[in-house]
């Protein structure tokens, strides 16, 4: 069903390796393949150290790919590209950072923080136009124009994160990489920021790559989910499909770990611990294969047969 949508960003066989001083390079991301369609919220979930932030940063071109490529609207954006393309990509892909306390320049006013992108690309006619744009960006995220002359340390975490969102939005991007935008926030204001992100998405027709480890949040916000484990994408599916028919044992274990706000369910809950080393690794090398339209799972042929049987059983049960 998703085949008739426009592919906005496409990651093809991407590897990110870091030199950690040893003989072998450390592969943080291994052969990642996925597409993000225009207008959707695509989530990357996985535990800490699984490489989800690294993928986000590779798309932002902070981390270089050691293999593979990233296409944005059909054009390659990884590796060396021309200056004009570079400027275009910077404008069209923006990032929201995890830690609102660390991602704003403490020595600059909010006005400068938000105008930074405008200054860099001279996206304003005159001073009055720039101030108007900043005021509008602040209003869009529910802050006041009078905050312009304030410094970041005078704001609460939620307000700072909204400044970070305003700073990205003012560039009028098409894709936003949101790297755990709410995990550093107080629980009471998480919903506020998520609702704001959803509101802006509808208003401006944005596409999100949402990086998170909290499945309850991911279920609330995303259209499709990719589960990543140890740098490898193990399953991609639409949100409800993934929650209904999880196939890969890591996905199942991840779903079983979601806490339920009901003591009776929690008491009976069986935690499924996933252990990579205890799995049956026989057969050929596994790859990401499509088991149902839009539902991908990382498996080899032997595992595919097992998953197929399991899926049919689950579908029969409904």
């Amino acid at each position: 069903m998703s085949n008739n949508k426009e592919v906005l960003l496409s990651v093809k066989g991407a590897d990110v390796a870091f030199d950690n001083g040893g003989k072998k390079l450390f592969r943080a991301v291994k052969n990642a393949n996925f597409d993000i369609y225009r207008g959707e919220t695509f989530s990357l979930v996985g535990e800490s150290g699984s490489g989800k932030t690294t993928i986000g940063r590779a798309i932002m071109r902070i981390n270089e790919l050691s293999k593979g490529e990233i296409l944005f609207k059909g054009k390659r954006i990884s590796g060396r590209i021309s200056k004009e393309e570079d400027r275009d990509v910077i404008r069209s892909i923006q990032m929201i950072f995890q830690d609102p306390a660390a991602s704003l320049n403490e020595r600059a006013t909010i006005e400068y923080c938000i105008s930074e992108g405008l200054y860099n690309f001279h996206l304003y006619k005159d001073e009055a136009d720039r101030i108007e744009k900043v005021d509008k960006a602040l209003k869009d995220v529910g802050l006041l124009p009078e905050h312009k002359s304030r410094y970041p340390h005078e704001f609460s975490g939620g307000q700072r994160q909204r400044v970070g969102i305003a700073r990205a939005m003012i560039m009028e991007p098409e894709l936003i990489v949101a790297d755990e935008p709410i995990s550093a926030l107080d629980v009471s204001i998480r919903a506020q920021v998520l609702n704001l992100m959803n509101k802006l998405k509808e208003e401006k027709g944005l596409t999100y790559l949402f990086i998170a480890h909290d499945l309850s949040v991911v279920r609330f916000i995303s259209d499709r989910i990719a589960v990543i484990h140890l740098g490898r994408i193990v399953e991609i599916a639409e949100t409800e499909t993934l929650f209904k028919y999880p196939l890969h044992p890591y996905t199942i274990s991840l779903l079983s770990a979601v806490p339920m706000p009901d003591p009776r369910i929690e008491k009976k809950k069986e935690l499924i611990v996933y252990d990579e080393s205890k799995r049956d690794h026989s057969g050929e090398k596994p790859i990401l294969q499509e088991i149902r339209p839009g539902h991908f799972v990382f498996a080899n042929d032997r595992e595919m047969k097992e998953y197929e049987a399991k899926l049919q059983e689950m579908e029969a049960r409904g």
Binding site: M60, I62, R87, I90, R91, Q94, M95, F97, Q98, D99, A102, S103, L104, N105, E106, R107, A108, Y112, E116, G117, Y119, N120, F121, G142, L143, L144, E146, H147, S149, R150, Y151, H153, E154, F155, Q159, G164, R167, M171
Partner: protein, 310 residues
């Protein structure tokens, strides 16, 4: 009756106001105003700062009126004028050639302070510019670190001796000697500081917004470094004064035609036994300048750190 009224007025209902929930009630924050407020809160430092300003301006102005020149000694043949004790006519007494020690000390202090300030300014400007680019560029780091290794391992005294042979002695040659390799230490210090905060998230954010390296240095990095740079300056001005004193003491500094604290101290050391005040007066002037510069500089550096702002 009165009591009843009070209870009624205890509270009244208010409507939810979005403006009020986002409004920041605290007064506006201004970085430099807070720096000065923090600085002036400490009365002792303010006293030292006033003393320092007085000493420096006195050292700059007094020699104009006294017209002291170490090469002129009108009383050299007048035995009665030599080694006078401090008096109302000669506040610090007179020396072995019958000149006023008061005039000599202030003329010397003027040149020593000038040398220190000029060298600090030159080294800081070159060091900050080179160091901040150095900290950002991995390519530059590869060869800059070699230059640093070479320059920082040149023995300073050896360099001073050779340069004084080549360039002679005087004001400009001394400043050249004290800046030709010294800037590299400032640059290295700044490079390390830049590397510490270069990869912080807010700099990544700037990079994602397409900010150029130079704008990142001036807007993101250097404002953070104000307080460490202040601390550094507070440390090197006094140390440059002692460098000058040391070089002049060794005969490599300003030369015999220009008064300097170092030369006066070395000249008067030989009268330590008979007339100790001749030695102790220039030394205590030197110590007062150095210590008060250090205290004021440290306090300014503390005040420049926004974490101390209340």
């Amino acid at each position: 009756m009165e009591n009843n009224n009070k209870e009624k007025d205890l509270f009244s209902f208010a409507d939810f106001d979005e403006y009020q929930s986002e409004h920041i009630a605290a007064p506006r924050y201004s970085y430099w105003k807070s720096v000065w407020r923090t600085f002036f809160k400490d009365k002792f430092t303010v006293g030292v700062a006033i003393l320092l300003i007085f000493i420096i301006s006195f050292a700059m102005i007094q020699p104009i009126f006294s017209g002291y020149d170490p090469m002129i000694a009108p009383n050299i043949n007048n035995a009665a004028m030599k080694f006078q004790s401090p008096s109302s006519a000669y506040w610090f007494g007179t020396d072995n050639i019958g000149n006023s020690v008061f005039d000599a000390v202030w003329a010397g202090a003027k040149n020593s302070i000038l040398v220190a300030l000029i060298c600090t300014a030159i080294n800081m400007v070159i060091g900050i510019i080179v160091g901040s680019i150095w900290g950002f560029s991995k390519k530059m780091d590869k060869w800059m670190i070699e230059i640093y290794n070479v320059l920082s391992n040149v023995p300073f005294l050896l360099l001073a001796i050779i340069l004084s042979y080549i360039l002679g002695s005087g004001f400009k040659p001394l400043i050249f000697t004290m800046t030709v390799t010294e800037w590299v230490f400032v640059a290295y210090f700044i490079r390390t500081q830049v590397m510490i905060i270069r990869d912080r998230e807010y700099n990544l954010a700037s990079k994602c917004l397409g900010t150029s390296t130079w704008t990142m240095i001036t807007k993101n990095i250097l404002p953070y470094l104000i307080s460490v740079i202040m601390t550094y300056i507070a440390r090197i001005i006094p140390s440059y004064i002692s460098y000058e004193v040391f070089l002049s003491y060794m005969g490599l500094g300003l030369g015999s035609s220009i008064a300097s604290l170092g030369k006066i101290i070395s000249q008067y050391t030989s009268f330590m036994k008979g007339y100790p005040h001749l030695f102790w007066i220039p030394v205590s002037v030197l110590a007062t300048i150095s210590i008060s510069l250090y205290i004021v500089g440290q306090k300014l550096a503390d005040a420049a750190d926004p974490r101390t702002h209340r």
